[in-house]
Point group: C2
Chain length 429, copies 2
């Protein structure tokens, strides 16, 4: 134990984190210990060995893990909260593609990405997996800004070589060439906390040749993959027509070599995955990025998250800006519970709704798994923590439990109550 | 036109209001004219006759009608955002009844109601219909605070004489006596903007004798009625058992004389109203208080609002704190759209989702109808207005339309952006 390391300290307050998808661990008065950026555990009485460490006194405040956003589109941040009267495919053509095409202009990209990274930094998100645009330069600039922000992120240059407007579509070979150059540039930049991730947009906008080429790059460079899967009924119908030889939508990624056990892979949505697809996701260790608000806004539906968790699938939570209107992961937790409740009542009563504990798990430990051990304050986890002044949200009650306080924060809180934020033991503010 | 009246002035900015449930009227640069607390209309060029009036310069700001919350429980504000893992009936027994029983203590009631009225005053709500508790004194105190707040409200002492815990249930005769005394006290108080409304909790907690007695008071005192209707499947089953002779849940109110054409009446929820009930609601001019977030939180379902509107039923929007977690009516608009989209996708695709225009209508003109002409800036409406600095919500885009700005405010905004608020032409801040 290196007592002098800047990333070794103790937080003292009311602590909450997920034990698993069903149970929370909550402590009215406890010490969360960080040693060299890694949690040494949470203790109701501070062990002798840690007494020499500096104590950050936040008694009465709530301490929870930093939240993990598994799927967010940085260039769509500029039009979040508008155009929500459309479903996925018309929305892509009307709002997404025209806006993303603007990021060929590096000065526009810098201005827009500054707002995005500032917002992420001051919110509850500690870790994120991010879609950029197809533009290599703007994506690199975004990654530089993310590196400065102190967040831990994966970010990807988007690939797409079909069914995208002329001013934004890529040539297959050029897309792969640009991606290779981007990966080389990222390696050269030697970021400490900002990593590249291969990002084929989704099957409708990627030929098999492009996806196969990307799979080769994934192996060559040892980088993970992110994409979209089984989001909206009309999209799923379209994929069936585009790829008549697949057994399920996921099979288009599988056949291209992008969905392999040894390539870490995030698939956003999985709203309508059938048994074949569910088995394929499990077999290939895919991490599902559940994007509830986006799935509601674009009339996609609601993914059966408690069923997936019971089947042993891996899953985390996502804001999916700008299908989701807000980057707030508190809001995403609420949306996950909401979506699951309406799904339960209106569609399939055998799939129980997410509890608060279940949704909190997705937003922390569930998504944190993409970084190994993150999203918890248990021993051995990367030390991400939020210090929250939740009692600034008025109430006449003086008997709220720690779990009720965390729940209240999720329903009513925003960045105003976040008084401190640590990522891998580094204090951002 | 009395030019010297303090309630006569002009607001200059970007104006938006509902034309009807399908269309918004939006003006990039316009003048909203208030004469003696009543709107004289919105003009792109200020008419000669209004030039002598003082102009409140809010160029670049968004001006919209104050929002209308048709159903909110003041005593439940203290535990909003907690206990959301339960359905309606266990939630009532676990959280609602024990908390509401505390309001027999006037000092607790004062403390809790102060937080509630402060919150409502600083938010987007201009008008509200409020449930208090069964306690006469605490309800009167709440009404005094509401009067001070400057909001226009109806508030009701709750009645309930069965199926409620012993420390909170009322005797039938005593309940009616207390209600009469409360109505007399309210008349004596001679509030200017705070009116009484009879408030039988809901059929499961009200005997026919109590409801019949309340119907007599409604006629004697000329006061309106509010209650709950067809909210949660388990509640509806229970009502069927309790009242075997009714044709539908609403019929329990109808048979008691509480649902009459000439008694203004608000029924919260109407999630599961069948054709018989829908016809009864229409025939008796009932105003539906759609409470989408509450209906989601308590796993009740989602009301078919576009169907109701197309059938010519009257409807407005509600936060329903603490079934709903927040008193924010921006949040309620978002929840209404969300609920309708999942209902459409997962339950009944023949009932189209609410558009932004449709949900905005419910939150303004739809609910405002309970005060006659309120919830719009059109000529002849009570002049309720919010001045909103929506561009304080960051974006790289400089080409947002007024409608997009309003939509963005609904998805992303909160009370921080509200820079001014008028109710019936009086400036609250």
């Amino acid at each position: 134990m290196n007592e002098t390391h800047e990333n070794s300290f103790v937080l003292h307050g009311s602590v909450i984190y997920s034990k698993n998808a069903k149970e929370l661990c909550a402590f009215e008065d406890a010490y969360a210990v960080c040693i060299n950026g890694i949690s040494a555990g949470v203790f109701e009485k501070l062990p002798e060995a840690y007494r020499p460490l500096p104590v950050v006194e936040t008694k009465g405040k709530l301490i929870m893990p930093g939240l993990v956003d598994l799927h967010i589109h940085a260039p769509q941040y500029s039009f979040r909260g508008t155009g929500m009267d459309m479903e996925l495919l018309p929305w892509l053509n009307t709002y997404v593609f025209p806006e993303e095409a603007k990021y060929s202009d590096l000065s526009y990209a810098e201005k827009a990405y500054r707002l995005f990274t500032d917002d992420l930094r001051q919110g509850a998100t500690a870790r994120a997996c991010i879609f950029a645009t197809s533009h290599k330069e703007a994506t690199l600039r975004l990654m530089e800004m993310l590196e400065e922000s102190g967040l831990e992120t994966f970010a990807g240059k988007v690939n797409m070589d079909r069914n995208v407007p002329d001013d934004y579509v890529e040539d297959t070979g050029e897309s792969l060439k640009q991606t290779k150059e981007w990966l080389d540039a990222v390696n050269q930049a030697a970021f400490r906390r900002t990593r590249p991730i291969l990002t084929p947009r989704f099957t409708p906008s990627c030929t098999r040749a492009l996806m196969t080429g990307l799979a080769e790059l994934a192996k060559e460079y040892g980088v993970p993959v992110q994409s979209h899967l089984s989001e909206n009924p009309s999209e799923i119908e379209w994929v069936k027509k585009l790829e008549p030889d697949i057994s399920c939508y996921a099979d288009s990624y599988k056949q291209s070599g992008l969905m392999e056990k040894d390539i870490p892979c995030i698939m956003a949505h999985c709203v309508w995955s059938d048994d074949t697809e569910t088995a394929m996701l499990k077999e290939n260790n895919v991490l599902i990025a559940h994007s509830p608000e986006s799935n509601i806004n674009l009339c996609s539906g609601a993914a059966p998250m408690t069923k997936y968790l019971e089947l042993g699938l891996k899953a985390g939570l996502a804001s999916d800006v700008a299908g989701g209107s807000t980057s707030s992961m508190f809001s995403a937790i609420r949306a996950a519970i909401h979506a699951s409740k309406l799904r339960f009542r209106l569609y399939e009563e055998t799939v129980r709704p997410l509890t608060f504990a279940g949704a909190f798990y997705l937003a922390t430990k569930g998504g944190g798994a993409f970084w190994g051990r993150a999203g918890s304050l248990e021993e051995g986890y990367l030390f991400d923590a939020l210090i929250i002044d939740d009692m600034a949200i008025p109430t006449a009650r003086e008997d709220l439990t720690v779990s009720e306080r965390a729940e209240r924060m999720v329903y009513l809180g925003d960045e105003r109550q976040i008084k401190g934020k640590y990522v891998s033991g580094r204090r951002l503010f």
